[in-house]
């Protein structure tokens, strides 16, 4: 694992909303194929950090490089960069006026990555992969939360990204639907996708993460393998947090 290439390089990242400083000083490298799980109490800045990676939130300071390209630079074509960074949201954000398949086809066709026929084929292939092929022609309002999230993952994958960001992908789901979404994510990880995941699913983190990063109050408090962080946490704040959630 040591000689893998650095995919995302973050240096002294800062983010404030007005007077509120959410990210104080974050630096980390994420390697290609690595699965990083961000953990921490709410308000610790983990979602904001994730959203800075594809500039849904503009960083206030610091640098983010993705594939050596500076995300925070004005001159970088952010739309082009986002094509390679898929994102999955807590509330799915599927487009309600489009069918499941159309949701997936929209970006590849509009951004001229594929013809309509190619996008359709790719879309069906992805739907099969997430177990949703039979719902291709249905509107999002007609499927369950877990199904919506699996479609949302397929939609993000349609652009062939090499990084996937997950922002609490199971937090809005009924408990019995969490498993099906985590399953898809596990498969994705096994295939070597670089993933950054904000989640409260400790089980998933233990099983799938290469690295667990514990954040609190805008800083990275502690990080390491799941074994290190969960079984031998060093920082009192990590211990305190784990005591509450485990």
């Amino acid at each position: 694992m040591a000689d893998r290439e650095v995919k995302i390089h973050v240096e002294n990242l800062k983010k404030s909303f007005g007077k509120l400083e959410v990210l104080k000083d974050i630096s980390m490298d994420i390697e290609e194929g690595e699965v990083v799980v961000l953990l921490g109490p709410s308000g610790s800045g983990k979602s904001t950090f994730l959203r800075c990676l594809n500039q849904l939130e503009k960083a206030t300071g610091g640098t983010i490089l993705v594939d050596g390209q500076c995300v925070t630079d004005h001159k970088t074509d952010i739309n082009k960069l986002r094509e390679n960074i898929g994102m999955v949201f807590q509330h799915f954000n599927l487009f309600p006026h489009k069918t499941v398949l159309e949701n997936i086809m929209l970006a590849p066709v509009e951004l001229k990555k594929m013809t309509k026929a190619e996008a359709r084929e790719k879309g069906m292939q992805l739907l099969k992969r997430v177990g949703m092929a039979d719902k291709a022609e249905v509107y999002p309002s007609q499927i369950s939360g877990g199904q919506k999230q699996r479609v949302a993952i397929a939609r993000a994958l349609a652009m062939n990204p090499d990084v996937m960001l997950f922002d609490e992908p199971t937090s809005a789901l009924d408990p019995e639907m969490v498993g099906e979404v985590l399953m898809v994510m596990k498969e994705l990880a096994a295939e070597g996708m670089t993933m950054v995941v904000v989640t409260h699913e400790i089980g998933f983190a233990r099983e799938v993460a290469d690295r667990v990063v514990f954040m609190d109050a805008g800083y990275i408090v502690e990080q390491g393998t799941p074994e290190e962080v969960f079984n031998h946490p060093k920082e009192p704040r990590t211990i305190d947090f784990l005591n509450k959630v485990l």
């Binding site: 594809n54 849904l56 739309n79 082009k80 960069l81 986002r82 094509e83 960074i85 898929g86 994102m87 949201f89 509330h91 954000n93 599927l94 487009f95 309600p96 006026h97 929209l106 970006a107 509009e110 951004l111 509107y139 309002s141 949302a152 939609r155 993000a156 652009m159």
Partner: protein, 222 residues
Amino acid sequence: MIGIIQSYGTMLLEGMGRTLLQTFLSLLFAMVIGLIFALMNVGRNRVFNLIGTFYVDAVRGVPLIVLAYFIYFGIPTAIQTIGFSDFRLSSIQAGAIALSMNCGAYMAEIIRAGIESVDKGQMEASRSLGLSYGKSMRLVILPQAIRTMIPSIINQFIITLKDTSILSVIGFTELTNVGKTIMGNTFKSLETWAIIGIMYMVVIVTLSKLAKRLERRLSRGR
């Protein structure tokens, strides 16, 4: 009453025709004006925000009758004094401009509210896929916004149709103006205005019923 209909029937229908034509034309221009200023207002550009707010406030702050006078009498005079001595606006042209501007301001607010009613996550999801702001607006936000906008647009349509009567003051021969002429000729005010009133009502009720049906069909396709 029968007598009025017999002698002025064609004139009344022509007046109604011009009222409808003016309404549809103005509504069409108003949609374009409204969309432009709504987009200025929802964007993050401060200068555009200012222009958008100014337009809406200015036009909504002036009665339509004053706006019509200003455009029909004021603007041509101003243009004549700077050298284009034979510049004129017909009452149809001036009326269309005044009504489009007026309706456009209200339309801008309707469209802005429609856009803002769409969940913020929709724009984020679209942008995260690499689609530009413009494409996201056109493909993701506006198609959803239009559904919430339809009832207000129908309402505005009816208001605009009725507002065409105000244009009679600049001599545009729409339905109300025809009424004035008939009144002048026959002195039968009760009958004349009853006929005019009923004509407006029939057209408006019919159109709003049609619009309701369209609205229902659109929301079913969800």
